[in-house]
Symmetry: C2
Subunit: 329 residues, 2 copies
Amino acid sequence: MKRATIKDIGKVAGVNPSTVSRALNDSKDISETSRNKIKAIAKELNYVPNLLAVNLRNQRSNLLGLIIPKFSNYFIPSLIEGITKEVNKHGYKLVILSSEESVDKEAEHIQFCCNAGVDGILMSLTQETANLDHLQFATDKDVPILLFDNVKPNMPFDKVILNDKEIGEKALAFMQSKKCKNILGIYAHENQAISSERKQGFEKNIPKNIKYQSINCTDGIIDETNDIKKILTDNPKIDGVFCMNDEMLILAHMSIIRTYPDTKEILLVAISDGVLPNFLNRDVYYYKNSGKTLGEDITQKILKTIQDKDTYIDTYFREAEGILKNVRF
Amino acid sequence: MKRATIKDIGKVAGVNPSTVSRALNDSKDISETSRNKIKAIAKELNYVPNLLAVNLRNQRSNLLGLIIPKFSNYFIPSLIEGITKEVNKHGYKLVILSSEESVDKEAEHIQFCCNAGVDGILMSLTQETANLDHLQFATDKDVPILLFDNVKPNMPFDKVILNDKEIGEKALAFMQSKKCKNILGIYAHENQAISSERKQGFEKNIPKNIKYQSINCTDGIIDETNDIKKILTDNPKIDGVFCMNDEMLILAHMSIIRTYPDTKEILLVAISDGVLPNFLNRDVYYYKNSGKTLGEDITQKILKTIQDKDTYIDTYFREAEGILKNVRF
DNA sequence: CTGTTAGCGCGTTCAC
DNA sequence: GTGAACGCGCTAACAG
């Protein structure tokens, strides 16, 4: 059975389709009686609006686009969960596009969003994205973009930024207060903005009496524990490890317990989504940057931008929570 | 600057919009020369088709809907990654809808998919979903649905099913071969189809000489380690633990190392996505059911259904890989 | 308060 | 091979 349209309803009710539209959308230009009558018929006929038509008419789709560079294990799922929750609340839906670390795909995804009438774009850039010209495509078409996560403070777009550098500094200060004398820092790829920000912050004030070295690892490649293990073995005096995110934390954790099967006094400090530390069998101190709440945040921000039709460029700062300690039973 | 339409192109080229349409869609009813000319102009004008219009015209959107009951930590992210990868290959996009364990939302999401011209629905049911009437909405409108994960073999829809019961049996046999005499099984909520299937399989052939008990845990609630720890403490002879998925595995792992800080001979067997075991500092044997490859699978299946316009009900079986052992360095 | 008309942008049918 | 006209389903502008 073909689905009913407003035309069908109009035929049954003996009114014009536009009147049906008014009734269904609770326009004030319509009488109580015909509104009720029309609504009753609509229900009778199992009428549901065809969103494709509504969207074409309105040139918008109630869709939000999320463009991520790739899937990481801890942050992204948590982020998606936050966005999905918030988006559902406001009657929007979420389309997820993964660039798979390709700038070309990133550009394609932006194009798609614009052509599909997406109302706004949430976007975390690829590691390779140096040039931001392809974002212009969206701004030209007045599709709001909000950058987050892998974004530099000087990028001329709406963005949400964590106080990365400051947390790096705080982390160092904390480790100092805990009497660390020999520290290893574990970071991601240099092109990743948040990684280098956190690194810069951490390395800013290292005093002479603290020995320090760092390593860059690839997300989630468990083999890299071997490299870390080697550093730990070669430097038995290391008494503190700083991890720039959860992926690095798990590598560090594995490496430490493999290097020192019996508990050894190495202070483990990280910036984390907040879930993983509680699943590790070792004290972990961490600054919490929850993907979930970030997801809620950025969703609210872009929905507001959509509503207000703002065009100027905003930078929103976000503070990590901490320092926290994981729960041990 | 307003974006170009086929009308604009036609004006510049001095032809009718319909001719432009033909040229752009490589219709055979058009001369080589005008096709090239029109395409050149289109490029010149930065023409990109308005998908909203295309979709309304075709009554479809090149969108796939994914409806999940909620976000778990291990399986779902991996699943989404698999689907996204596969979907991108074929020019489709993915919309993610989370029911948050509410049957009502589940129904709403189905409705949305149908009204929005989604080409197909991938769906894992809520724990509470007993009645499948609301799926009828989609079949009525000829929107293909494919069920996976939390689906019972007798449900009259297209579905992908893992050999859950069989794996349960195999797991028991494996633990027997490893001389376990006292086993604890850890499962999820009873309403979760895969959990109860795996449980039934595992419990089917337990011999008299093996002591066995089980517990149902909630996903990702770390407090439940206390309950497991109590069982382990009260039953010091337990020498094997079976975990129905990754969430249970991590609970078991925590509980074991907390109960017995020094290594103790407890055989740990699980059904897993395959990532977590390698991050645990203990031997783990597991049957691998990768969310990622499942995601690829179900995407291919539903795309085929869409293409073929099949209407009969298929059940696809999927085999877990194993038994595998985690990598230890 | 309601009907008429027009158009969102595209693809397709039917003429020529 | 091309133009004209129509319709997908809905909403908004204008009249009355």
